[in-house]
């Protein structure tokens, strides 16, 4: 027993689980097994709504899909947009109405099933009378509900059909526009339409099946009701005081009533037996007729179903075809595009080659032209350059020559100036020398001429003549200086008396007696103080006294040279006496001569170098 119970429970559990997983199985079980829907609704919750919701989601997704198909082909964007917009609109409306219809149908189905269920319950349940009336009320409510739902469903169905029809027309219109880009949209819309139609049909068939079932149940319930009523009538005819719902009566009946009731029951049983026998006999015929009818109906239904499915299949096939067409078209387009691309690539290659060749040619030409122009330009440029260079060289040469000339002129100027300067310097130094000759106090010699002579020598150290002259200065004059003419004159004057006194003394006559005689002579002899010397000296003129007077005369007249010459003629002791004076005079004369020569030379040189302005 336990094993049997276990198997049964496991079977039930298994069916429940499988029904939970497979909704179709659940629907089938519910349809075939009478109270399984209760069980399933208890265990798993209501079933039929899921399918509807699945379908609704399917439709909603379909709606969602369609608008998301992008509007292709920018050239016909406006038309496409319009078409797509219209499609969307109609799709949306149709989807809505379809959903509504489906919902209504579902509701109707539900109502029907509920009603049937309730009816079945009412028919078969053993419930007390007051509950029964409630049940019957419930049933009536359910019936009203069912009719209402049926109406709703039918209107919704009508509406849905309408909208589906409009969608179909829109689709046809858009198909009529024959724009390539719209095809996928159209295709999608058509598919959605088809799906909606299919769903709607499914639901409608479900509703119809439910309806038929309900009809059966209602028929059965009607029969049962009729039977009941008849039985009631019979019972009431038999036992008028008995109320309805006789099942509840137990102790109220009398024995007669009971007997009558039993007899009636027997009679009813007999009748029913007979009817049953009759029914059994006619069963086969009835069954056949029913079968026939059923067959006919089935056939009809089958036909209808076949038609609808055929339509659906046709529709699907058409859609499939369209889809395939679309795909093929796309593939073709893609292939065409690739071919075109290939062609374009080939074309571009060809064009590139041609362009390259052309470029080559043009480049060669251009280069040639360029090179020729360049050559021309270059030669011209070189020419210009050469010209410029020549001009420049010329200018440079002239400038250089001029510069050289100027330089030479300047140099010569410089040289001349240098010479002039030197001459000037020489002259200056000579003048200085000259001046030094004048720097005498009486009876004192000049300052030594050394420095001046040095200066002179410095200022003429490239001039041999001047050098020679400068070096010709007597040493005494350099170191000691010379006496001036005035001092010499004075000295001579003082010397003269002595010279007179020793006039007779010479080498042979130089005793004291002679001295005495000469003194006597000097005291007694008178000669001219000064007497001009003749141009030629005779023997008489060689007398010392005369000579002295001549010399005096010359000195007085500034002719130191002649005086010196005359004095030079003195002999003897007079000569010795005036020897110093003579050397001094000679020195002076020499110096003076050299200086005058130098100055003359300096003058000459200066004259030579000074340029006339």
């Amino acid at each position: 027993v336990a094993a049997g119970l276990l198997t049964v429970s496991s079977g039930i559990g298994g069916t429940i689980l499988y029904a939970k997983w497979d909704h179709k199985f659940r629907a089938a079980v519910e349809k075939n097994v009478p109270y399984s829907d209760l069980l399933f609704s208890l265990a798993l919750g209501p079933s039929s709504q899921e399918e509807a919701s699945v379908e609704a989601t399917h439709i909603i997704s379909a709606i969602g899909e369609v608008p998301s198909v992008p509007a292709p082909c920018d050239t016909e964007a406006a038309a496409v947009k319009a078409v797509s917009a219209s499609l969307e609109e109609s799709l949306a409306s149709s989807a809505k109405t379809t959903l509504q219809a489906i919902g209504a149908q579902e509701a109707a189905l539900q109502a029907i099933t509920q009603h049937t269920h309730k009816l079945k319950e009412a028919m078969e349940a053993e419930v007390p009378p007051q509950e029964k009336s409630a049940q019957w009320k419930d049933l009536e409510a359910a019936l009203a509900n069912r009719t209402c739902a049926m109406n709703d469903a039918s209107t919704a169905l009508l509406k849905a059909n309408e909208t589906l029809g409009s969608l179909k027309s829109v689709i046809d219109k858009s198909k009529g526009l024959n724009i390539a880009a719209v095809h996928p949209l159209v295709l999608a819309a058509e598919e959605n339409l088809h799906n909606m139609i299919v769903d709607l049909d499914k639901v409608v068939t479900k509703v119809q099946s439910a309806e038929s079932e309900a009809k059966i149940v209602s028929q059965y319930s009607e029969l049962v009701n009729e039977a009941k009523q008849q039985f009631q009538r019979e019972v009431s005819s038999l036992t008028p005081e008995i109320q309805a719902n006789w099942k509840g009566l137990t102790g109220k009946l009398s024995a007669d009533d009971l007997n009558a009731l039993i007899a009636h029951a027997h009679r009813r049983i007999d009748q029913l037996n007979r009817e049953l026998a009759e029914q059994r006999v006619r069963e086969q015929i009835h069954i056949d007729a029913a079968l026939e009818q059923q067959k006919l109906e089935d056939q009809k239904a089958l036909e209808k179903a076949v038609n609808t499915t055929l339509q659906h299949v046709k529709e699907e096939a058409r859609l499939e075809q369209e889809r395939k067409l679309g795909e093929l078209r796309e593939v073709m387009e893609a292939e065409m595009r690739t071919q075109l691309r290939r062609q374009a690539a080939a074309h571009t290659d060809h064009v590139q080659d041609v362009l390259k060749v052309q470029e080559h040619e043009l480049r060669a030409e251009a280069e040639q032209v360029l090179s020729s122009k360049m050559l021309e330009q270059e030669t011209r440029y070189r020419q210009l350059n050469q010209e410029q260079l020549d001009n420049f060289t010329l200018d440079m040469n002239t400038a250089y020559a001029r510069l050289k000339g100027m330089e030479e002129a300047i140099d010569s100027h410089v040289v001349a100036e240098e010479e002039a300067r030197k001459a000037h310097q020489l002259w200056l130094s000579v003048e200085a020398l000259n001046y030094t000759l004048k720097t005498t106090d009486s009876d004192l010699p000049t300052i030594p001429l050394k420095s001046a002579a040095e200066a002179v020598r410095d200022s003429c150290h490239d001039n041999d003549f001047a050098l020679a002259l400068a070096s010709a200065l007597p040493e005494e004059s350099l170191h000691r200086g010379v006496y001036s003419e005035a001092s010499l004159r004075a000295r001579f004057n003082s010397l003269r008396s002595l010279a007179r006194r020793v006039a007779l003394i010479d080498e042979s006559h130089n005793s004291l007696y002679q001295y005495f005689l000469s003194y006597l002579q000097a005291a007694l002899l008178f000669e001219d103080e000064q007497k001009a010397p003749p141009t030629q000296l005779s023997r008489e003129d060689l007398d010392p006294f005369k000579l002295l007077s001549y010399a005096s005369y010359c000195l007085e007249h500034g002719d130191l040279e002649l005086a010196a010459k005359l004095v030079n003629q003195l002999r003897g002791e007079t000569r010795r006496v005036v020897e110093d004076w003579l050397t001094e005079a000679r020195l002076t004369l020499e110096t003076r001569q050299v200086v005058s020569l130098l100055s003359a030379y300096a003058n000459a040189v200066g004259l030579g170098t000074t340029q006339a302005p």
Binding site: S511, L512, R576, V577, D580, W581
Partner: protein, 75 residues
């Protein structure tokens, strides 16, 4: 050169004077000492003195004109 002459004369005269006086003195001395106050040593002495002085003077004046010769021995 003129001063030399003068100097010579100065020297000469001074020298002569000195010599004369010296001679005189010597003469005097001699005359006194040796020659029993005769005058001839005085005169002699003074004369000597004068003569020496005179000669000196003359030589002095002649000095520039004197030529000194030298004997060169043949080698």
């Amino acid at each position: 050169m003129a001063e030399e002459h003068g100097r010579k004369w100065d020297r000469c005269l001074a020298d002569t004077a000195v010599k004369t006086v010296t001679g005189l003195g010597v003469g005097i001395v001699f005359s006194v000492l040796l020659f029993k106050r005769r005058t001839w040593p005085v005169a002699f002495g003074s004369g000597l003195g004068v003569g020496m002085g005179y000669t000196n003077c003359q030589n002095d004046f002649r000095l520039p004109y004197l030529i000194h010769g030298r004997m060169v021995k043949d080698q």
